[in-house]
Amino acid sequence: MTDTTQTTQQPDAADILLSVRGLSKQFSTGSGPVKAVEDISFDVRRGQIVGIVGESGSGKTTAGRCLLRLVEPSSGEAIFDGVDLFSLPEKALRAYRRRLQIIFQDPYSSLNPRMRVRDIIGEAIDTHGLAKGAARQARIEELLTRVGLSPEHARRYPNEFSGGQRQRVGIARALAVEPELIIADEPVSALDVSVQAQVLNLIQELQRELGLTMIFISHDLTVVEYLCDEIVVLYLGRIMEQGPARSVYANPRHPYTRALLATAPVPDPTVRRERVILQGDIPSPLNPPSGCVFRTRCPHAIAACAETVPTRETVGSGHSVACIRQAELVETYQD
């Protein structure tokens, strides 16, 4: 992922597997239009894990589903390996559906309870005609082993598994079609920490050994800091800050990112942090604030923040921030 303003100068553009430009999605609801995702741009490089973080309703799931066209985007482009996924006709899209897969948050509801594990995984293989007969059987067993289950699990039903095991089945199903990009929508959020650690290790093994590229959606900043190479911070459907994870965590430049990092609880009672507690609730997406959508909760907001939507400014290599005051605020941050 790189800052949009620099894309043309990137020498290693061939490394970029997916390039999202100006993605917007509006839902029309009974109470009016909801801008769930508004003008999002970012790049995903081969072999990297890009984290999308934000609070509930910030548009993480919608963005992920638009990329797979499980939800039809309202506008924008998603250039995957040179082809715009958003302008592909349905029929041509099918070939790409194999190359991009999704893993869902809820390991309980994302697997059909009436299907055996071998049929859940087998179905994905059959849909794309990848293997038949003995080869198909062998592939299922290989996948189960790959995700840390055993071939004998193939006969079982989802309700015979724990949450962590079910998430492994979900991952095996996604891997069955040998995707190049996996969009994982909160894959560990429903899991206990000890199980979460097992699944995070599995994801890393897959990244290392299969060279997988992943978009990892999460609201857990600790997990994202550990796992991701790049990070995109969303608020009310817009990108507030993005960049290499190390740079953003070491040097957060948007007041929202700073507040998020200051309020995420850390398991260490000796840590006394600068407490920036954001006042108030996230505004309704039916009626978002003018200008900077964060301004109603921003401790640094001034009148000008209501006037214009901030454009993203580069503050470091690949690191950009959408805040009109970012330059003057740096001096007030004592890191």
Binding site: E55, S56, S162, G163, G164, D192, V193, S194, V195, Q196, A197, Q198, L200, N201, Q204, H219, L221, T222, V223, E225, Y226, L227, D229, R246, Y249, A259, L260, T263, A264, P265, V266, P267, D268, P269, T270, V271, R275, I277, L278, Q279, D281, I282, R297
Partner: protein, 349 residues
């Protein structure tokens, strides 16, 4: 299966002055025909006056069943089958909640001990306004008229920092955001000024910025009102923020209780140690060049409450287990005067 002595009288000697609640080997089972789910099977914990005890454990470890046992709100076929729940009333008397009559329990619920439930809609009725629900709670325990109750309800909403309280009193729960509803639940729980608040995962469903507001609010209320809090959570980060003391649950038992700093600095149970080690921490788990180290998950998985191991329930997953651990359930041992652990081999930690 020894029952506790059915004694609803006073137990003045059994509780030190600064202790509000002590669970003593509490056992709550769900009995289904010949099978018993031993959801809580040896919970010993202590809540001190004006302090917060965090009860932390993974899903299914028995946190909610412990809370509901204290409130005596267990759903059928759940039943307290053993142990004591000593509670110090505001007047100084000590009662055993495990054996108290239903009638006396009704007078205690809300007034002495109040609870915020994990499932928000268990506490809030969608059909009544927020004001009506708080007023009803007040009038259940105190002889005040509607007007007085409304004034008090309004004051409660102010206390929990809800803007425009007059307008909010007349709204229904579904008209509010998640954070606002959580504030209303706190207001409802505190309406009759309880001495002990049991909060079962009060911030789990909330976003971090809203969670920070609620934790801040609870800390402030505790300082101002002096109530004791039993705070149930599965998040060790939240524990570090809110707790004075921590009780760690595993498979229906409290395996460790200690002051919060002691517990994080030197856990004396291998399970607690394992939990702390598997939470990702970029400072520990990523090298300077950004490369990640693998996490150290606890191997295996939690045992079923229908088939608990005979000895230490953690033995099958424990790096320190020896044959003795597999046959003899560990007693609650003192690793230091204030630090209790159910581990035979805690000295190795």
């Amino acid at each position: 299966m020894a029952m506790s002595t059915p004694n609803a009288g006073n137990h003045p000697d059994a509780l030190a002055d600064d202790i509000v609640l002590r669970a003593d080997n509490l056992r709550t089972h769900f009995i289904m025909g010949a099978r018993a789910a031993k959801s809580v099977d040896g919970v010993t914990l202590t809540v001190r006056r004006g302090q917060t005890l965090a009860v932390v454990g993974e899903s299914g470890s028995g946190k909610s069943v412990t809370s509901l046992s204290i409130m005596r709100l267990l759903a059928h076929p759940g039943r307290i089958v053993g142990g004591r729940l000593l509670y110090r009333m505001r007047d100084g008397g000590v009662v055993d909640l495990a054996t108290l009559s239903d009638k006396r329990m009704r007078a205690i619920r809300g007034k002495e001990i109040a609870m915020i439930f994990q499932e928000p809609m268990t506490s809030l009725n969608p059909l009544y306004t927020v004001g009506d629900q708080i007023m009803e709670m007040i009038r259940l325990h105190e002889p005040v008229d509607r007007h007085e109750a409304r004034t008090r309800a309004r004051r409660m909403l102010e206390l929990v920092e809800i803007p425009a309280p007059d307008k909010r009193l007349d709204q229904y729960p579904h008209e509010m955001s998640g954070g606002m509803r959580q504030r209303v639940m706190i207001a409802l729980a505190l309406a009759c000024n309880p001495a002990l608040l049991i909060a079962d995962e009060p911030t789990t469903a909330l976003d971090v910025t809203i969670q920070a507001q609620i934790l801040d609010l609870m800390r402030r209320l505790q300082r101002e009102i002096g109530m004791s809090i039993l705070f149930v959570t599965h998040n060790l980060g939240v524990v570090a923020e809110i707790a004075h003391e921590v009780a760690v649950m595993y498979a229906g038992r409290v395996v460790e209780q200690a002051p919060v700093h002691d517990l994080f600095a030197r856990p004396r149970h291998p399970y607690t140690k394992g939990l702390l080690a598997c939470i990702p921490d970029a400072k520990r788990d990523r090298a300077d060049d950004g490369t990640r180290k693998m996490l150290n998950p606890i191997p295996g998985s939690v045992p079923s409450v229908l088939a608990l191991p005979a000895g230490c329930a953690f033995a099958p997953r424990c790096p320190l287990a020896e044959p003795h651990c597999e046959t003899a359930p560990p007693e609650l041992l003192n690793a230091s005067p204030e630090h209790l652990t159910r581990c035979w081999r805690h000295e190795l930690l």
